[in-house]
C-alpha cells in the first residue's frame, strides 16, 4: 500500500514543482521584462477566450486523472481481502486495547506476522480516536457507537509507530504504541506464549450462553429470535420492509439496541444490552456470531456449545 500511495504522492509533488516553478518563473520573467520604463506604456489587453478555456479545461483534465488515481488507491485501502486475519480494537482515553481473534490481548502494541492481511475492527469507548500507522500510509477514525475498519499487509519486519491522529484530550500525544511486524514463525511462537484463555469466538460463545441468548436464538429456527447461524454477511429482510447486510455494525446494533432493525417475522421483544456489555465483551459476541457463518471445520467453531454445534450441523443450504 505504501508503494502505491507514494507513487501518486511523488507524481503530485513533481506536478506541483513544475507548476510552482512555471508560475514563479513567468511572474519573474514578466516582472523583469515589463518593469516600468520611462516612455513605455502598458499595452491594454482585454483577455483571451481561447486562453481562458485552455487554462480551465487542461487543469480540469489533469484533476480528473488525479481524482481517478486517488480513488483507485482509496478503493483498495477500503476493501479488506476476504481472508484477512481479524483484530478487534477498542480505543479509550488514552489507550489502545487490541484483541486477536486467536485470543491474546495487547495494550498499545500490536504484533502481526509479515505478509498477512490484517483487518482491524475498531470502536471507541469514549471520544473519537484515529488509528494511524504512517509506515503503512493508513489511517481511520475510531468512532464511539459503531465499528469502523481498516486493513493492512506489512511487507517488512520491524517496529512501526502507532499514533492516535484524532485529537482526544489531555494525553492525545501519549496515545501511541508500536506495531511489531514479525516473521511468521516468531509470530506463532509469540501467539503460543500469549497465555490466552480461549479464542475470541470461544469467549463470545461462553458469554452468549451466560447472557441466556440461546433461549430465543435457537439453532433450529423455532425460537422467538432469529437463528444466527450463517447470517453474517448476508442480506436480512427487516420488519419494516428494508433489507440490510448483517455486518459487524448490524450485529453490534442488534445487541445494544435490538428494536432499531427488527428481522421480518419477529417481535421486538429482545432486551436492550446497551450498558450491560463492555466493548471488549461486545467484540467477543460479534466474533462468535461471525464464527457461526464460517465452515463447520473452521477453527473458531470447533469447541462450541451443544446448541451452537448442533445448529452448525443442521445448516443445510
Amino acid at each position: 500500500m505504501a508503494g502505491t500511495v507514494d507513487a501518486l504522492f511523488i507524481f503530485l509533488t513533481l506536478l506541483s514543482v513544475v507548476m510552482t516553478v512555471a508560475i514563479f518563473a513567468t511572474v519573474l520573467f514578466f516582472a523583469t521584462k515589463y518593469r516600468r520604463r520611462a516612455g513605455v506604456e502598458a499595452e491594454q489587453i482585454e483577455g483571451s477566450t481561447i486562453l481562458e478555456l485552455a487554462w480551465s479545461i487542461i487543469p480540469m483534465g489533469i484533476f480528473i486523472v488525479i481524482f481517478v488515481w486517488g480513488a483507485v488507491i482509496f478503493f483498495e485501502e477500503r476493501t479488506p481481502p476476504m481472508a484477512s486475519t481479524e483484530v478487534y480494537v477498542v480505543a479509550k482515553q488514552w489507550m489502545w486495547k487490541l484483541e486477536h481473534a486467536e485470543g491474546p490481548r495487547e495494550i498499545n502494541a500490536l504484533h502481526v506476522p509479515v505478509g498477512r492481511d490484517i483487518k482491524l475492527i475498531m470502536t471507541s469507548q469514549d471520544v473519537i480516536h484515529d488509528f494511524f500507522v504512517p509506515a503503512f500510509r493508513m489511517k481511520q477514525d475510531v468512532v464511539p457507537g459503531r465499528y469502523t475498519t481498516e486493513w493492512f499487509r506489512a511487507t517488512k519486519t520491524g517496529t512501526y509507530h502507532l499514533f492516535c491522529a484524532e485529537y482526544c484530550g489531555t494525553s492525545h500525544s501519549g496515545m501511541i504504541g508500536d506495531i511489531v511486524v514479525m516473521e511468521p514463525a516468531a509470530y506463532d511462537a509469540w501467539l503460543a506464549g500469549g497465555g490466552a484463555t480461549g479464542t475470541l469466538a470461544q469467549n463470545g460463545s461462553a458469554l452468549f450462553q451466560q447472557l441466556g441468548c440461546p433461549t430465543c436464538h435457537r439453532a433450529d429456527g423455532q425460537g422467538r429470535g432469529p437463528n444466527l447461524v450463517g447470517i453474517f454477511g448476508k442480506p436480512v429482510q427487516l420488519e419494516d420492509g428494508r433489507t440490510v447486510i448483517a455486518d459487524e455494525n448490524y450485529i453490534r446494533e442488534s445487541i445494544l439496541a435490538p428494536a432499531a432493525k427488527v428481522v421480518s417475522g419477529y417481535k421486538p421483544i429482545m432486551p436492550v444490552f446497551q450498558g450491560l456489555v463492555s466493548e471488549e465483551q461486545l467484540s467477543t459476541l460479534v466474533a462468535y456470531v461471525k464464527s457461526l457463518s464460517q465452515a463447520p471445520s473452521g477453527a473458531a467453531g470447533s469447541s462450541l456449545t451443544t446448541a451452537a454445534s448442533s445448529s452448525s450441523a443442521m445448516q443445510n443450504p
Binding site: 510552482t20 489511517k139 464511539p144
Partner: protein, 545 residues
C-alpha cells in the same frame, strides 16, 4: 477626470477623521470608515493574542518532550489560537476592515446601505470577543477550533459553552456585515456603474458576503446544539445519548469549509486590484476573474465532506466529495493564471503592495497545489490530521489571506490615513514575512508526510530537526508582522502626506480626497468608464515628472 486629479491636497480639509472629536463620536458612529477603523483596532488586538499563542505552541514544539507547558495548557493554546485566528481575525479581517471602508466608496455611495446595522455588527463582534476573552481568563477551552463531538459535549472539562456562545455571537456580526455588503452592491451603485464595471474587489466581496449569509447560520445552529447537548444532555451528537458524532462534523464543515473561502476570496479581490494598478493594465480576463469568485462561492458549499474522508463516511460519498473538490480547484487556478497574464506587456513597478501580491500568488499556488494532494482520496488517508494539513491551510489562510490583507492595508493605507507608510520598511517587512512564513510552514509539509500527527504536545525525536526549523521561522514571521504595526502607527504622525491618488490607481475610491470626507464624495459620481481604465490614468512617475 482631469479636474479630479488636479484637486489641491489640503491636509486641514475636513475629513472623516477630523470632522468630529471625542470617544462618543467613535463609539456611536455610523460612518462605515470609522467602523472599519474600530474593526481594524479590534482585529489587530486579537491577531496579536492569537499570534502570541502560536509562538508558545512553536516554542513547546522546539523539543520532542512536553517540557514548556502542561499538555492541557498546550491543548488550550492550539484550540484558542485556532478559534481566535479564524473567528476573531481572519473571517472579519478584510470584509469588516477593507470591505467596510472601501465598498461604499468603490460603488460611489455615501455609506453602506444599513449604517446602523453596521455599527451593531461591530458591537456584536466586541461582545463575542469579550466573552471569548472571559472564557480564556477563566481557564480557556481545549476542544480544538473544530469542537468535535462527543469530546466537546461530554468529555472536555473546559469552558466550551462560553467559547461556543462567543463564536455564536461573533457569527451574527459576520452575517450582518455580509448582509450589508450584498444590499449595498445591489442598491447603492452610482449611476453608470453597471455590474460589469465593478472593481473585482467588489465582486469577490459580494461572493464572500453570500457565503457569510448562507453559511454562518449553520455554524450558529451547530454551536447551539453543542451547548444544548453539553448543558441539557440532549442526545444529538453523543452516541451514548443516542446521537451521531458524524452529524456534528457534517454540520460544522458545511460552514467551515465555505469559511475558508470567506477568508481567501477577499484577498483574491485585493490582489485583483493591486496587480492591475502596479502593471498599469486592465485585469486580464475581467469576467473570468469575476465569475470565478461566484463559482468558488457556489462550489465551496458542495465539498465539505472532504474533511471527513477517514471519519467513517461511506466509500461512495467520499468519491463524490473528492470529485467535487477538484471542481472547486478550477476557478482558483483560473484566477492565478489571469493574475499572471495581467502582468504581460504591463508597466510593472515594485511597490510594497505589489510585493505582497507576488507573495500571495506564490504562497497561494503552493497552498492550492497541496490541496490537490488532500483531495486525492488515497493520499488524504495518509496525510490528513498530520502536519501536512496544518501546512496546507496555513499556506492558504496565512500565506494567502494574511498576505492579501497586508497587501491591501499597504495599498489603501494612504486613503485610510492620508499618509504614506515608509516604503523601505514596507518592502523589508514584506520580504521578512515571506521568508519567515516559508521557513515556518514548508518544513511542516515534510513533517506531515513523515507522519507527525497534528495537535501533538510531545513527539518522537526523529521529527525534531524540522520542528526546530519551523519554530525558527515563526520568530522571523513575528518580526515581519510587528514591523507594519510599528510603521503604520509612525506614519500617522510622520508619514509623507499621500495626496488623493498616490498610486495613480483606477477606482472611485481614489477620486475623492485622502482621507475622504465623511460622505465620501463632494458630489455624486457618475461612472462613464470601464473598470481598470489605466490607459486614461497617468502613472505616478509621469505626474511627478
Amino acid at each position: 477626470m482631469a479636474t479630479a486629479a488636479a484637486v489641491n491636497v489640503d491636509t486641514e480639509r475636513e475629513n472623516y477623521l477630523n470632522s468630529t472629536y471625542g470617544i462618543r463620536s467613535w463609539l456611536l458612529t455610523t460612518d462605515h470608515k470609522r467602523i472599519a477603523l474600530l474593526y481594524l483596532v479590534s482585529i489587530t488586538f486579537f491577531f496579536f493574542i492569537g499570534g502570541f499563542f502560536a509562538l508558545l505552541i512553536r516554542l513547546e514544539l522546539l523539543t520532542p518532550a512536553g517540557d514548556l507547558v502542561l499538555s492541557d495548557t498546550y491543548n488550550k493554546l492550539f484550540s484558542m489560537h485556532g478559534q481566535i485566528m479564524v473567528f476573531f481575525f481572519l473571517v472579519p479581517s478584510i470584509p469588516a476592515v477593507l470591505g467596510n471602508f472601501l465598498i461604499p466608496m468603490m460603488v460611489g455611495a455615501k455609506d453602506l446601505a444599513l449604517p446602523r446595522i453596521n455599527l451593531i455588527s461591530w458591537y456584536l463582534y466586541i461582545i463575542g470577543g469579550a466573552l471569548m476573552l472571559h472564557a480564556m481568563v477563566l481557564g480557556g477551552v481545549d476542544t480544538g477550533w473544530t469542537f468535535y463531538t462527543p469530546f466537546s459535549t461530554s468529555f472536555s472539562n473546559t469552558h466550551v459553552i462560553e467559547a461556543g456562545l462567543a463564536i455564536f455571537i461573533a457569527g451574527f456580526s459576520s452575517i450582518l456585515t455580509g448582509l450589508n455588503i450584498v444590499v449595498t452592491v445591489h442598491r447603492m451603485r452610482a449611476p453608470g456603474l453597471t455590474w460589469s464595471r465593478l472593481p473585482l474587489f467588489v465582486w469577490s466581496m459580494y461572493a464572500t458576503s453570500v457565503i457569510m449569509l448562507l453559511g454562518t447560520p449553520v455554524l450558529a445552529i451547530t454551536l447551539v446544539l453543542v451547548v444544548l447537548e453539553r448543558s441539557l444532555h440532549l442526545g444529538i451528537f453523543d452516541p451514548t445519548l443516542g446521537g451521531d458524532p458524524l452529524l456534528f462534523q457534517h454540520l460544522f464543515w458545511f460552514y467551515s469549509h465555505p469559511a475558508v473561502y470567506i477568508m481567501i476570496l477577499p484577498s483574491m479581490g485585493v490582489v485583483s486590484e493591486i496587480i492591475p494598478c502596479f502593471s498599469r493594465k486592465r485585469a486580464f480576463g475581467y469576467s473570468a476573474i469575476a465569475l470565478s469568485s461566484i463559482g468558488i462561492a457556489v462550489l465551496g458549499f458542495l465539498v465539505w465532506a472532504h474533511h471527513m474522508f477517514v471519519a467513517g463516511i461511506s466509500l461512495y460519498s467520499a468519491l463524490v466529495f473528492s470529485l467535487l473538490s477538484y471542481l472547486v480547484a478550477v476557478p482558483s487556478a483560473i484566477k492565478v493564471f489571469n493574475w499572471t497574464a495581467t502582468m504581460y506587456k504591463g508597466s510593472i513597478s515594485f511597490d510594497t503592495p505589489m510585493l505582497y501580491a507576488f507573495g500571495f500568488i506564490g504562497l497561494f499556488t503552493i497552498g492550492g497545489l497541496t490541496g490537490l494532494f488532500l483531495a486525492a482520496l488515497g493520499i488524504d488517508v495518509h496525510v490528513t490530521d498530520t502536519y501536512f494539513v496544518i501546512a496546507h491551510f496555513h499556506y492558504i489562510m496565512v500565506g494567502g489571506a494574511v498576505m492579501g490583507y497586508l497587501g491591501g492595508m499597504h495599498f489603501w493605507w494612504p486613503k485610510i490615513s492620508g499618509r504614506m507608510y515608509p516604503e523601505f520598511w514596507g518592502k523589508l517587512a514584506a520580504l521578512i514575512v515571506f521568508i519567515g512564513f516559508n521557513l515556518t510552514f514548508f518544513p511542516q509539509f515534510i513533517l506531515g508526510y513523515l507522519g507527525m500527527p497534528r495537535r501533538y504536545w510531545q513527539y518522537p525525536p526523529e521529527f525534531q530537526v524540522l520542528n526546530v526549523l519551523s519554530t525558527a521561522g515563526s520568530t522571523i514571521l513575528a518580526v515581519g508582522y510587528l514591523l507594519p504595526m510599528a510603521y503604520f502607527l509612525w506614519s500617522l504622525r510622520y508619514g509623507k502626506v499621500a495626496g488623493d491618488n498616490p498610486w495613480g490607481a483606477a477606482g472611485l475610491e481614489w477620486k475623492t480626497s485622502s482621507p475622504p470626507p465623511t460622505f465620501n464624495f463632494d458630489y455624486e459620481p457618475v461612472v462613464t468608464w470601464e473598470a481598470y481604465n489605466y490607459h486614461e490614468i497617468p502613472a505616478p512617475e509621469e505626474v511627478n515628472a
